[in-house]
Amino acid sequence: MSVRNAILGLLAYRPRHGYELHDAFEAMVGGVENWDLKPAQVYTTLTRLEKKGLVIEDRVQQDGGPEKHIYTVTQAGLAELQKWFSEPVLSDRRRDEFFLKLMLCLAAPDANPRKLIYVQRASLYRELHAITAQRSRVDPKSELAYILLLDQAVMHLEADLRWLDMVESRLDEISRQPIPEPAERPRGRPPKSDES
C-alpha cells in the first residue's frame, strides 16, 4: 500500500521512468539498509497503477539508445494521493513477533525466557549502536530528513529496550501467570480475527 502511494507521490513531484523511481525511493528512506525495495516490485506496482488509470506511460525514444518508459500521474492518481495524505497511518506495533516468542517460551519446557530477553536486548543495542554511528556521520545542515528518520528509529529502539527492561524486572511475576488461552465461547461463532 505505502509503496504504491509513495510511487504516486514521487511521480506527482515529477514524471520519471521505473529505474529513476526505484533510486528516488531508496534515497527517500535513507538507503537500502533501511528499506530494501526490489526493482521488480516497482514495475509490478506501476503496471497495476496504469491499469487503474492512476498513471499513464509514455514511450520516449532516446538518442541512439533503446526507448524509455516515462510515467506521469493522472488526475485520478493525484486524487488518490490526496486521499492518502488525508488519512492517518495506523501503527502496527501491537503485532510483535518477539512478544509471541517470549510468551511461547514461557510456556515451553526447557526454554530460558531470560536468555531470550538478553539475546533480544543485545540485538537491539547493536542496532542502536549502528544507527547512532550512522546518525553521527550525517550532516544535520543538509540531510535533516535523514536525521529525523534515524531519530525515529533510535526512539523506537530506545522504547523497545526500556520495555525489555520492564519485562525482565517482571519476568518472575508473568511466568507465574497462565499464558492467554481463548475463552470458552458459545458454539457456532467464528473465532475472532488477528486484531491483537
Binding site: 538478553y118 543495542y125 549502536h129 547512532t132 529502539l157
Partner: protein, 246 residues
C-alpha cells in the same frame, strides 16, 4: 594486558542486619581503547564499581588491577597520584570549581601535578579547542550551559593525558540533545584519542554508543554485549597476534 581487571570485587555497606551488598565477587576485564558502558537497575552496584576502579572507595574484598597493578596496595598519596596521572573522572554534576574560569578548571589536574602555569594553561586551551569550546575559555561555570559545563569537565579529565576515563552518569543531569553530544564526545575519546572509557549510565541511548555493555544486577554481571569492535581495538588485536606469531 587488560587495562582494568577486577578479581572477586566485593563491597558491603553497613554492618549486621542493615548490611547491603553492592558488589558481590565481581570479575570484569577491560582492554585498552575499549568504550564500555555499565548498565543495570539502580542499586545494582554500577556506581560502586566505578568508585572502586577510580580508587575513590575501598573494597570489602577482592582486587582492582589497573595495568596489572593492585591499586589498593598503594598508600593515599600514591593513589592520589595515580588518579592525577592515569585516570580522568567525569561526574554527573560536573563538579567544576565555581570560582575558576573554564580554562583554569581544565588546567587543575596539571597544576596539581606541578606543571608550570603557562604550560598547563596552553594545554587546557588546546583541549577546550578540541572539544569545541575555544570561545568559552574565560567563562565561569555558572555562565555555561549544562552541556558546556560537562564538556569542560571532560576536557579536565583528558588534560593530563590519562589512559583511562571514568564517567559516572555523565549525561544524568543533561537534556537529551546535550546528552547525545556528550556521548558522541566520549565515543570520540575512545575511537580517535585511544582512551579507555568506562561509563556508568542508565540511559540505553547513551549506552548504545559504547563498544561493549556490561549488565549488572545485584552486584554481579548478568550479561555482556559486544556492540562492535572499534578499528583501534581490531588493530591492537592484529598486532598482538602478529607479535605472538613472531
Amino acid at each position: 594486558m587488560s587495562i582494568i581487571k577486577t578479581e572477586q570485587l566485593t563491597k558491603v555497606y553497613g554492618k549486621g542486619a542493615t548490611a547491603v551488598t553492592a558488589l558481590n565477587g565481581l570479575n570484569i576485564e577491560i582492554q585498552p581503547g575499549e568504550f564500555v558502558a555499565v548498565m543495570g537497575p539502580s542499586g545494582c552496584g554500577k556506581s560502586t564499581l566505578l568508585h572502586l576502579v577510580g580508587g575513590l572507595d575501598k573494597p570489602s574484598n577482592g582486587r582492582v588491577l589497573l595495568d596489572g597493578q593492585d591499586i589498593f596496595r598503594l598508600n593515599d598519596d600514591e593513589l592520589t597520584q595515580l588518579r592525577r596521572r592515569q585516570i580522568g573522572l567525569v561526574f554527573q554534576f560536573f563538579n567544576l570549581i565555581p570560582v575558576l574560569e573554564a580554562a583554569e578548571n581544565v588546567a587543575l589536574p596539571l597544576i596539581l601535578d606541578g606543571v608550570k602555569q603557562n604550560d598547563a594553561r596552553q594545554k587546557a586551551e588546546a583541549w577546550l579547542a578540541r572539544i569545541g569550546l575555544s570561545d568559552r575559555l574565560t567563562h565561569r561555570p555558572d555562565q555555561l550551559s549544562g552541556g558546556q559545563q560537562q564538556r569542560v569537565a571532560i576536557a579536565r579529565a583528558l588534560v593530563a593525558e590519562p589512559s583511562l576515563i571514568l564517567a559516572d552518569e555523565p549525561t544524568g543531569n543533561l537534556d537529551s540533545r546535550s546528552a547525545d553530544d556528550i556521548a558522541l564526545l566520549l565515543r570520540q575519546i575512545s575511537e580517535e584519542w585511544n582512551r579507555t572509557v568506562l561509563m556508568v549510565t542508565h540511559d540505553p541511548r547513551i549506552a548504545a554508543h559504547a563498544n561493549r555493555i556490561i549488565f549488572l544486577k545485584d552486584g554481579t554481571v548478568v550479561d555482556e554485549t559486544r556492540l562492535s569492535s572499534n578499528g583501534h581495538q581490531e588493530e591492537m588485536m592484529v598486532r598482538q597476534k602478529l607479535e605472538v606469531a613472531r
